[in-house]
Amino acid sequence: MLHPGSDFARATTVRTPRSARVSGLVIADEAPASDLVARAKAGEREAFDMLVERYLSETYRLATGIVGRVDARDVTQETFVAAWQEIGRLRKPEAFPAWLRRICVNRSRNWLRRRKSRGPTASLDMDDELADRLPDRRTDFRGAVEARMVLEPLFDQLKPDQRLTVVLHYGMGYSIAETAEASGVRTGTAKSRLNAALKRLRRALEDPHETSHR
């Protein structure tokens, strides 16, 4: 299922000097994704470049939601490199969006685990703009800042699987079934992970001091 406004549903309009090397890009951007995937499977690099351009925004948003902005660039890059190396094995071209999402989730999960083994980052996501993007900031600026201050440290402490489940469902708007598919688990498992994450976040919201004790 594609979501309204999803970048998987419409081509991105990002243009960089590098993308100009793809001849006929504007016209080709309108090509069905499955056609591009079939061509990329056959080894056509230009077709794959167009897929990168088409799915870049969605993939970067997903990676940012899970690992944060500092690491999202690397995760996104790893995702597309892996996709290029493995696209020959993709059985159904129409499954490409879900397949790519799954790669991104797996790479993000690995990144979180590696980061955990290295210890916490100095400033979480180092994202000072996040509070500005929280909704209703004009009418509830204090609440928005408070939410960020309380939620961000706690979000960073969620287990990787809980964290990516929350991002897939609430951040990206995927259904539970799609969230489960992207996570490689059954629907029931995705639900239980979501509930566990929410329960933990709610508990912290009720008692903000709990965060500092963990």
Binding site: V14, R18, L56, G68, R133, D136, E146
Partner: protein
């Protein structure tokens, strides 16, 4: 604060613009990325040594007779010895059972079996008998060996638990557990070096390590380097999933008979 604020916070985390230079960086990285074949080729020297060691181990087992080490599936597919030995079990049978309709004796024969894990059936596996080969003209195989090839295709209905499957699921051994020369051969390392120009098909991959078995085909060739002195034994293929104490399925793949003549390496 409430659930709505949690949802707003998570949504805000994903509300980001793509850095303008990221597309170029990714396309450059894809340019630099090695092809899958290159990755396989990088294993060739290691695989050659490992395969040679495998044959040495097989030969040792043949000379020493049955071992007391009951072979079980290796917990770590990246480090197992290519050959494991097993202690004879069951009753002695001087007359091997006849080949059944489910056997894979002739090249081109195929069967389908259930892919199983600790929970139950998670998909199906199609196995097709390949050829017996005396070697490859462009890949060195261990002296005194011949090759038994099979083609494996997994069709996953769900992810197995644990999500470990592929090349490490398979092994070869004599059907008679009381055979004087009892051994088990695994294909992992040998499998990689046989990805040669004369055999362009991909070797069977191993999960985890690859991606998304639900949407990506999991298929490939497995090749066993078998000591020529075992050609008089009836050999069976073992489907031995991770976590199982015994094979989940056995299929006869070779009856006693002369192995194919050796093939000299003429292209490197």
């Amino acid at each position: 604060m409430n659930d709505q604020q949690i949802r707003d916070y998570v949504r805000a985390r994903t509300d980001v613009d793509t850095p303008p230079d990221l597309l170029g960086s990714i396309l450059d990285a894809v340019d630099r990325a090695p092809a899958r074949r290159s990755w396989l080729a990088s294993w060739a020297p290691i695989g050659t040594v490992a395969a040679a060691m495998a044959m040495a181990a097989v030969a040792l087992v043949l000379l020493m007779g049955p071992s007391r080490d009951l072979g079980g599936p290796s917990p770590d597919a990246s480090t197992p010895g290519p050959t494991r030995t097993a202690e004879p079990t069951g009753t002695h049978s001087s007359e091997p059972p006849p080949a059944s309709a489910g056997d894979l004796i002739e090249p081109g024969q195929s069967i389908q079996i259930a892919a199983v894990d600790s929970v139950g059936e998670w998909g199906s596996i199609r196995i097709e008998r390949g050829e017996d080969l005396g070697g490859y003209p462009d890949a060195q195989i261990p002296d005194g060996s011949f090759v038994i090839e099979l083609w494996i295709e997994y069709d996953a209905e769900r992810l197995p638990d644990p999500p470990t499957f592929g090349a490490s699921d398979w092994a070869l051994r004599p059907t008679d557990p009381n055979a004087e020369r009892f051994f088990v051969v695994e294909p992992q390392h040998w499998d990689r070096i046989s990805g040669s120009a004369t055999r362009p098909e991909d070797p069977l991959p191993q999960y985890p390590g690859a991606i998304d078995p639900l949407t990506t085909s999991t298929e490939g060739r497995i090749a066993f380097a078998v000591d020529r002195r075992t050609a008089d034994l009836r050999l069976e293929l073992l489907y031995w999933p991770s976590g199982f104490d015994e094979p989940a399925e056995t299929v006869v793949v070779r009856l006693p008979g002369n192995p194919p003549p050796p093939v000299e390496v003429t292209q490197e």
